[in-house]
């Protein structure tokens, strides 16, 4: 088994397809031999992957392949048992979720995790937590710079909500939003942390084709406006093949294919993983 040793140069994962515009720049995400075991079971094994500075990349695979586990490793919800994650060229070994957020990794969740009892605007304000700061005492005593900073919170939150045209929902309790709006709010909240890398876990789940189309446009728009990288997990192949520049296919915790949409679509391994050996459904 290959293991990554610190200090030694490791060859770049072979088939990472960094878009041309990102070549020569430090990739926003590099994973080397990343792996985690749960009681002997290798949930993710030897995961080598690179995402360019402004790339939209996709992580796909059948249910239970370990896609969300990869996200949990990237955000240090789980500490990896093997391998290294580099964010913007910086080693993340020993860092925790909060530090990863500060390094510029933001995520959404497969099973939506909004602050349900807080308003839409307050959800975004929590996302802005490390962007706008003032001491606790100023807040408790209502002394400067409290009002100025809160105004900044409000303005920035409204700006971010306008990405999805959600300003008029600012005062609604997040838990009362319709499903699609909750997914969009999670993206806005993640963007509020000023990420370099945005991880989207099934952003189109439960959306109708119209909404999905809109979402695709918005993901590209977000990438262009914020100049950030997006890594997404998605089962909707129209979305993945439509906007992802690099795609990685995971099965039983291992990468079985990497490449562009066309390469992936014609890869026999991938077809086998998705359809099984003799099944014709799907």
């Amino acid at each position: 088994m290959k293991t990554f040793e610190k200090g030694k140069m490791v060859p770049m994962p072979s088939t990472a397809l960094i878009p041309e515009r990102d070549l020569g720049k430090i990739p926003v995400l590099e994973c080397y031999h990343l792996g985690i075991e749960f009681g002997g079971l290798k949930a993710v094994d030897d995961f080598n992957f690179t995402v360019g500075k402004t790339e939209i990349a996709g992580l796909i695979g059948p249910n239970g392949a370990g896609k969300t586990t990869v996200f949990n490793l990237l955000t240090k919800v789980y500490q990896p048992t093997h391998g290294t994650i580099m964010v913007n060229g910086q080693d993340t070994t020993g860092k925790n979720t909060v530090q990863l957020s500060k390094m510029g990794v933001a995520r959404t969740f497969q099973n939506i995790r909004l602050f349900t009892d807080m308003t839409v605007e307050d959800n975004v304000r929590v996302g802005l937590h490390n962007q706008v700061k003032y001491p606790t005492a100023c807040g408790m005593l209502r002394i400067p710079p409290f009002y100025k900073k809160e105004k900044e919170f409000h303005e920035r939150a409204m700006d971010l909500l306008s990405i999805f045209g959600m300003q008029d929902m600012a005062d609604v309790k997040a838990g009362n939003l319709p499903y699609g709006a909750q997914r969009r709010l999670e993206i806005v909240r993640a963007l509020a942390t000023d990420p370099k890398l945005l991880l989207l876990d099934e952003p189109a789940a439960g959306m109708n084709p119209n909404e999905t189309g809109e979402l695709m446009e918005n993901i590209v728009k977000i990438r262009d406006e914020f100049q950030i990288a997006v890594l997404l997990i998605e089962h909707d192949m129209k979305l993945v093949m439509g906007i992802c520049e690099g795609i990685c296919v995971l099965n039983f915790g291992k990468i079985i294919a990497k490449g562009t949409a066309e390469e992936i679509q014609s890869n026999p391994e991938v077809i086998k993983a998705y359809l099984g050996n003799n099944s014709m459904e799907g």
């Binding site: 955000t75 919800v77 925790n96 979720t97 909060v98 990863l100 957020s101 500060k102 933001a106 995520r107 969740f109 995790r113 909004l114 602050f115 349900t116 009892d117 807080m118 308003t119 307050d122 959800n123 304000r125 929590v126 996302g127 937590h129 490390n130 706008v132 700061k133 003032y134 606790t136 100023c138 807040g139 408790m140 005593l141 209502r142 409290f146 900073k149 809160e150 919170f153 008029d168 929902m169 005062d171 609604v172 309790k173 009362n176 909240r189 993640a190 509020a192 942390t193």
Partner: protein
């Protein structure tokens, strides 16, 4: 649709800030009644304790309602505040003759010691979750009570003398106080001979201060972080919110306020023992918070007032009053939490609302 939710939501803010005029009005009415001999002696005696328990309820609501963690040992922090307040006040009797100034110093000291206690206890406690966290707060509450029960403190011209009576063999004589020295806390007997300097006005002021601090806290960057952790810890962490730090801030604020309430409470009685702040007192305050509504500060104030006075009002029933109290408590919980009963209310309420709308 959304405008309806909007108005509902701002209603909670309106409700919270309505607490200020309500408490102020209550204060002036009660002061007026009291100065015109309209309150009997028993009610007079309840005024300061009610204020203390209101502050306790508000502070515990911060832990249970806002932070979302169950604390079963909040009385321990009240105890820290009470005995600190008593010791400080009694030892400053000569050097600070002004009662009001001394009361302020005692309350600040009580709050500070409770803050330190809250920080030290928070370090282990806040690492745990759910019922495990609850049982450890219970454990700390009992530990504080035991330790205060062992405390013998006296004051003389050389300053403070403190000994711990861990083996049960030491008495006040072991303090070796100089002439004119006084014993302030006598072990299991508690604080004895305290000069009572707590006033209803002071109680009113600390309620207002607590309300202001708690409400401003909730509606600030820090408060939002705490609420976010309560709603979804993992999401809060991935937004870059340091869970331990913000839980600690909320917990220490909560214990500080409890210490403040304790100091005022301790200085309202000329004798008080550590047993007063036992598990049952923690539970009493928890009942105020739950019945008043989690996160509902006005609810805490009303519940604390009504439920503290209720056993007194039921005094006519003599031995049956605590039984009645228990039955009322169970029935209220069933009425507010049973889906069938709640649906019944829901059925009745919108009708009334729509009538109001039509008018």
């Amino acid at each position: 649709m959304s405008s309806l939710k909007k108005s509902k939501l701002s209603a909670s803010a309106v409700r919270d800030y309505f607490s200020f005029p309500l408490v102020t009005a209550a204060f002036f009415i009660i002061t007026f009644m009291s100065s015109h001999d309209m309150l009997n002696k028993r009610m007079q005696g309840l005024l300061v304790p009610v204020c203390c328990y209101i502050v306790m309820a508000l502070s515990l609501n911060l832990t249970v309602g806002i932070m979302g963690e169950l604390s079963l040992g909040h009385a321990g922090f009240m105890s820290l505040g009470a005995f600190t307040g008593v010791v400080v006040s009694q030892s400053l009797i000569d050097s600070v003759p002004n009662d009001i100034l001394r009361l302020v110093i005692a309350i600040v000291a009580g709050a500070l010691i409770a803050a330190v206690g809250g920080f030290l206890i928070g370090l282990p406690v806040l690492r745990l979750r759910g019922d495990y966290l609850a049982i450890v707060t219970l454990a700390f509450g009992e530990i504080i009570m035991d330790i205060v029960n062992c405390l013998i403190v006296g004051h003389d011209k050389n300053g403070l003398h403190i000994i711990f009576n861990f083996k049960g063999e030491k008495t006040v004589a072991d303090l070796n106080l100089a002439e004119n020295g006084t014993a302030i806390i006598k072990g299991a007997q508690g604080a004895v001979g305290t000069k009572t300097i707590a006033t209803f006005t002071a109680g009113f002021l600390i309620i207002m201060l607590t309300l202001f601090l708690v409400l401003s806290f909730i509606r600030s960057r820090t408060g939002r972080a705490v609420l976010a952790i309560r709603d979804n810890r993992i999401a809060a962490e991935s937004m870059g919110v340091n869970v331990m730090k913000y839980k600690m801030i909320a917990f220490v604020l909560s214990t500080t306020l409890a210490g403040m309430a304790g100091a005022l409470y301790g200085l309202n009685f000329n004798m008080i023992s550590a047993d007063k702040f036992n598990f049952n007192t923690s539970i009493l305050v928890l009942v105020f918070v739950v019945l008043g509504g989690l996160g509902n500060m006005l609810g805490s104030i009303i519940a604390a007032t009504v439920l503290y006075i209720l056993p007194e009002a039921l005094r006519g029933l003599a031995d049956y009053r605590m039984l009645m109290y228990a039955i009322v408590l169970i029935l209220v919980m069933l009425a507010t939490n049973n889906p069938k009963v709640r649906n019944l209310f829901v059925k009745i309420l919108p009708k009334r609302k729509s009538k109001e709308g039509a008018q």
